[in-house]
């Protein structure tokens, strides 16, 4: 089993964090101010896009300053009980063991308006009278729900770190993993992630794990996207989606066409849905999607595309019933597509021999290259006389004979026999 590199290489100390130096400085200053007495703003509100290091900054801060770190996901704060516990913790600066305490409330966006019994209002009440530093985290601080809470908080914005900084981090990771990665490849991954360090690290792992080298060619097929979700995120949404809606939505988020997305899903289903029943159901969903593709072809009724998408996304997502999610599994590039792009030269050679066969045999060059060439190879290998006769009859050139017989020596003997 592999570990996700985002976990393995999570920064432990503030010094390891990519970018946002100003924001981090501001946060340190505010934390230190607690030593001189309770500051005016008793909570810090960190906000910014996903994956730029907000949570990890608070963790590293607690680590660097030896504070007791209490982390909670804000969406748990829906019950009175949880709120009371939070209030209790917040009412003392020191912990039982004499150290200082810092409380993190993550994912404030997850709170839904008024229906939550505790909700934003209860959190605000606790912040007003807190005796220890509280850090709040959300993607946006300017949500109207937070307008009152905001006035009691020190607002600190986290921005997307520049690609160069992200690339440096990727370089450290790849060095540690023993991958020789060229600069262009890392820069490409960094740029594509649009400042989302977490997804950049995910991409690096997907592309580089187990490899000795990583070049620009290895990564360039990802194609540049304007911060459209990377194919890996979309696959995650489909293969681990819990509802039809979320899985179907994934199909709109990615800029590869439906057929290519289909290939990605088809390649990756077996590794991610390992329970035999789940796998069979997921493969069946793909097979039905494929039947609809056939129907589109036969009828030119492009409206059927919606059923293709239903089956290949929601159908696959809902097949997951028994498979347990365990650890991190690499997403793989569709092998079927790779097989096509590999060995272009050999295919060209096969096709040109196929074209010669076609002239004599009422069979397409394509089919001949697949179905007849394997037999020709045997004949050429075993029987120079027959080979010479066939080469003459098919009008093959020296190169073609060499390819079929697999050695220059033997080819020369055959060509001599041809006269």
């Amino acid at each position: 089993m592999h570990f996700a590199w985002t976990v393995k290489y999570k920064p432990k100390s503030l010094a390891d964090i990519v970018g946002n130096a100003d924001a981090i400085e501001k946060l340190i200053e505010w934390t230190k101010s607690w030593e001189k007495g309770i500051p005016k703003k008793r909570a810090a509100f960190l906000y910014g896009p996903p994956g730029v290091g907000k949570t990890v900054t608070v963790e590293a801060l607690a680590h660097d300053y030896g504070m007791e770190f209490v982390e909670n996901n804000a969406s748990d704060y829906r019950t009175e009980e949880a709120i009371n516990r939070f209030a209790g913790l917040a009412s003392q600066y020191g912990s039982l063991f004499g150290g200082k305490r810092i409380i993190l409330l993550d994912e404030l966006d997850g709170l839904t308006g008024t229906s939550d019994r505790g909700g934003v209002k209860a959190i605000t009440e606790v912040v007003k009278v807190a005796q220890c530093p509280i850090v709040l985290i959300a993607n946006s601080a300017y949500d109207p729900r937070f307008s009152n809470l905001r006035s009691y908080c020190l607002l600190i914005e986290f921005k997307k770190p520049p690609a160069g900084e992200v690339a440096k981090r990727l370089k450290l990771i790849s060095e540690d993993e023993g991958i020789q990665a060229d600069e262009a490849s890392l820069k490409f991954i960094a740029q594509r992630s649009g400042g989302d360090v977490r997804s950049a690290v995910n991409d690096l792992q997907a592309l580089g794990q187990g490899k000795k080298t990583l070049t620009y060619e290895d990564v360039s097929w990802l194609g540049y996207r304007d911060r459209q979700d990377s194919i890996f995120n979309v696959l995650r949404m489909i293969l681990y989606g819990k509802t039809c809606a979320s899985a179907k939505q994934a199909a709109n988020m990615v800029d590869v066409d439906t057929d290519m997305l289909f290939e990605w899903i088809y390649e990756n289903v077996p590794a991610h849905l390992t329970d035999p029943h789940d796998l069979a159901d997921a493969m069946d969903a793909l097979s039905v999607a494929d039947v609809y593709r056939g129907r589109i072809r036969a009828t030119q009724e492009w409206g059927f595309l919606r059923y293709v998408i239903d089956y290949m996304t929601a159908g696959v997502a809902l097949a997951r019933k028994n498979t347990r999610t365990s650890g991190w599994i690499q997403f793989k590039f569709p092998e079927r597509i790779q097989m096509l792009s590999r060995s272009r030269a050999e295919r060209a050679m096969k096709l040109s021999i196929g074209a010669k066969i076609k002239k004599k045999n009422h069979i397409s060059a394509r089919r001949a290259s697949r179905e007849v060439i394997p037999y020709l190879k045997i004949m050429f290998d075993n029987n120079a006389e027959m080979a010479a006769g066939l080469a003459k009859w098919l009008d093959l050139n020296q190169e073609m004979v060499e390819y079929l017989v697999g050695s220059e020596e033997k080819a020369e003997a055959i060509i001599k026999l041809m006269g």
């Binding site: 035999p276 069979a280 997921a282 493969m283 039947v291 036969a298 075993n382 027959m386």
Partner: protein, 323 residues
Amino acid sequence: MSFEMWAEKYRPKKLSDIVDQKDIVERLKSFTKSRNVPHCIFAGPPGTGKTTAALCLARDLYGDVYREHMMELNASDERGIDVVRETVKTFARVKSIGEIPFKIMILDEADNMTSDAQQALRRTMERYTETCRFIMCANYSGRIIEPIQSRCAPFRFTYLPREAHDSYLIEMAEKEKVKLSSEGLDAIFEICGGDLRRAINTLQSAASLGKPVDAKVIYSITGKASPADVQKMIKVAMGGDFMEARKQLRDMIQKYGVAGSDVIRQIHTELFRAELPEQWKIKLADIVGEADFRLVEGADEEIQLSALLARLVEAGCDLRSAR
């Protein structure tokens, strides 16, 4: 022993040379008698005589100069719309000189044409019916667009029965002075099913060794040409390793060009031979049948077959837990 491709050398020249597909041949003969041919679809697995039947029909109709009245186009190689617009149209619209007022266009592997090209073809077929009749050869008629299907007389070719297969190969072996044992013949049929082109290619490559052709020779050479070991693949799948089974399937289809319908047929045969509880056999037959049907409907071979493999993985797992 002659040094051309036997599959071509021994291709039947006249409809009466074809010893199998009797119903089809009878219907085609009635066309030559009445000197009228409708548009046709010849559908069926590879190596069952579709192209041969079309060529024989043309020769019977026009005699030795048949090449002047017939054109053969391979849709696999030239499948775009431009070919239909240019080549096909140019051929179709010019009147034939001779007693038969129409020409024949053989579109081989027509199921590989793009649907745009098929749409264009549909109009060409309609417009020039007077001057040209089309014979479309396809593995899967489901991949031909419906408007074309409805304009064509359908002919379904099936794998060659054992007797026809044997009679072709035995005659060929005699003419080529190759010793072919009956075990060798069994082995060829087992490996190639009724795909005659593959059977002949197998025989010729076996003969190239210059030894009497027995089962051992056949197995040794087909191992090289197409390791289409369906039995092994089923075992791997039932044992629970889907990825490996899919890899084997992919190699069969992509590298060695084994037809999907052929794999299905072999899986079907193997299932009833395998040591499985009786109820399971019929349950699995239903699954195989569904995959077969989806293929005929025009779906992708690898996708359909790997979905079938996933069901075999599931069955293998259920069987183990039932024991």
